[in-house]
Symmetry: none
Amino acid sequence: MSAMILVVEDEPAIRELVVLNLQQAGHRPVVAGSAEQALALMREALPDMILLDWMLPGMSGVELARRLKADKRTRDVPIIMLTARSDEQDKITGLETGADDYITKPFSPREMNARIKAVLRRRAPQMAGDAAEVAGLRLDPATHRVTGNDRPIELGPTEFRLLHFLMAHPERVYSRAQLLDQVWGNHVFVEDRTVDVHIRRLRCALEATGHDGLVQTVRGSGYRLSAHANS
Amino acid sequence: MSAMILVVEDEPAIRELVVLNLQQAGHRPVVAGSAEQALALMREALPDMILLDWMLPGMSGVELARRLKADKRTRDVPIIMLTARSDEQDKITGLETGADDYITKPFSPREMNARIKAVLRRRAPQMAGDAAEVAGLRLDPATHRVTGNDRPIELGPTEFRLLHFLMAHPERVYSRAQLLDQVWGNHVFVEDRTVDVHIRRLRCALEATGHDGLVQTVRGSGYRLSAHANS
DNA sequence: CATTTTTGTCATCAAATTGTCATATTGGCG
DNA sequence: CGCCAATATGACAATTTGATGACAAAAATG
């Protein structure tokens, strides 16, 4: 759920708004004020997605999209166009240039996130915030709700994020360091053993519906969420 | 799938980006801002792979690669070159210096990970994180699970690593010293005979599904994992 | 501002793992 | 066949590792 997203938008106010929303949605926004600046940034590294304003000073968004789609190296980066016009003709033109989706201003954060999610899901399923279900245990990031066999389960914020991450990557073992990076954030200074405690709290909460057990310990390696028995 | 990867790159922004992606891919990045710093770091410990920027202040990346390939101690560390130029001539030069692969900027995280994995698969299969299967015996590093004919097998950490290494290099004999280097780590002081004990424990565990015969003793040389019967 | 939740860390306990040794087996060879 | 070296095996004590309960600081809540 953490994608690097390049925002190309000349209006500082809108840019900030978009960046804020992206951050809140857990993404890593990178900004460019012009098409030229965007090209310069992309010379170094490619983002996972581009939010591109239709109207830009200098090279227009349409032109930039056309260029990017013409270059074999940048062809595969998904593009979502932002535009003030809702003209049907523009929409067609926009999609013809190779944009993956199209948002007309004014747009709500909700709409923006939904469309980003949709495109990400198409390109990289693991980054979209879909509800996950494993063996009767269900977690919905949208409603921030967890149920075990349809019975509600209460979780603290950290336990929720932890379970969310584990359920998004079931059957896979993660070391404490990896979990700290993914769930806590790769900049915090926290003791490795702290993960143990939160795992225990998580298990404790899941015990009510008998879904502890899904959270398995892999001695010497870390933890895993799995539907298969551990014996 | 946890390799220690040395990133040699002078541009802090790109360095951070690369480090972030490596961490997310489960690797352990170590950074150096210059060729000199890289050499100093490698005096202490050798990484499993080097991501090396072509252009560096002071000693260039090409020169560093040349040096590393000239030193017997560092010769075998795989190198992936990062460069802004996509010039074919440069590519040839780069590969001539001994680089194992070559990535031209701008590169997507996806591409970088794919190339790293490819090189790891070639040079150190047990680190590529691929599941291995030999004669119905299956080991998956990602889930940290071992099955024999689809029946689960329990292994301690050391036995797991031992089997993992053997399965990544089947049909090959390894001396006790080599196994100690590869499975235990080339810095630990452990008795040679200890390998025997762990081989026995491994065979013991595999016996449950009749796969113990795969671990063969080569008298006077060491051990081997082979699907073929032991004459 | 008082109260409740959440969080990170520690000390301690139980269990699993590990390296080594002593002893038993095995295989090769004269 | 008998000897020797190499390997297998069983036992064991030291060490690691994970689980758990308690606790105080920090953050959220009203």
